[in-house]
Symmetry: C2
Amino acid sequence: MILYDMDKAPNPRRVRMFLAEKGITVAMVSIDLPAGENLAPGYLAINPRGVVPTLVLDDGTVLDESLAICRYFEGLQPEPNLFGRTPLETAQIECWQRRMEFDGMGSIALAFRNSQPAFADRAVPGAGPATPQIPALVERGQMLSRHWLDALEKRLAQSSHVAGDRFTVADITAFVCVDFAKWIGVRAGDAHPALRAWYAAIKARPSASA
Amino acid sequence: MILYDMDKAPNPRRVRMFLAEKGITVAMVSIDLPAGENLAPGYLAINPRGVVPTLVLDDGTVLDESLAICRYFEGLQPEPNLFGRTPLETAQIECWQRRMEFDGMGSIALAFRNSQPAFADRAVPGAGPATPQIPALVERGQMLSRHWLDALEKRLAQSSHVAGDRFTVADITAFVCVDFAKWIGVRAGDAHPALRAWYAAIKARPSASA
């Protein structure tokens, strides 16, 4: 199998971090997003949506959503468990993972995609129709990202990890988003002591540099 | 347990449809979203994010993401299976489910939330900061929704169901989104014969009116 990757982008990083936690090695090919390589015919023949990461199995099957790729590996190799063991724990982890995606990554991406010159006519990721940037979304994205960061601080003041008392896929999404938020100028500060302590602990894991 | 619901909103409908397919009955309480009941103190004490659906278990545990609620019930009652049986099938269904959410529901919601007078200062769902509507997002959302509908037609011209040859949670998300898209004036037409045949088949299921 081959994982199509891009070293700086947050979604591929989530998958790399997940694989590192599992101790799984997959052959990777890097796609140059700022140069638009994901929209070139060669890549679109592999993934018509033009997004990364994309996992292509040996029989040609394509998985092009980060969480689906992670859950596939969780199924193949259940330990260390990152998605939950019981129906309730699995649901709680999925709640937190999705809160981090929608409230965090979605907000950060708004500000990022609508401000970067490299994405002037591609404000929405992938191979959809040309989408002009909307400057007002930069402010909206920054405001919502700050709100998400404050909500994460409240959570981590009460819980050692995002979804409870152990490291899960929800920590991966949250950690990657905290780094992604720096790209739009939103950073944890003095008002986020619990978040910063959690961040330092996750940063110390070998998977953080995967 | 209690499921906080809203009859017209697409996310609660996904959960009701899922429960109907499983043959599971849950006590429901309806929340009046247009009137802002989800942002009133009573509901925020239950769910600080202010979104529906929300499932509250007998011990007070709160699950507030549609897919997490569905997956919880899938774990409690595995049949009929709607999320996949093998790691690969599970991952493929999740890919399609997320494509429907991000490319479909996300696009439709952009146009909807940024145009409805009821959401003038609440262009983003839930209890986050006041978020003014951005008129340019109506056009962006409609354009992306049409693109999603065309992509879904291509898929359904090759596959009897969204994620493969049987009904899954990906069909639920897609079906709910096709109806949701009507609210922003985006409808399947003569260019979508496969989609319309699939839609008619799903519409005939008892769960479609749940």
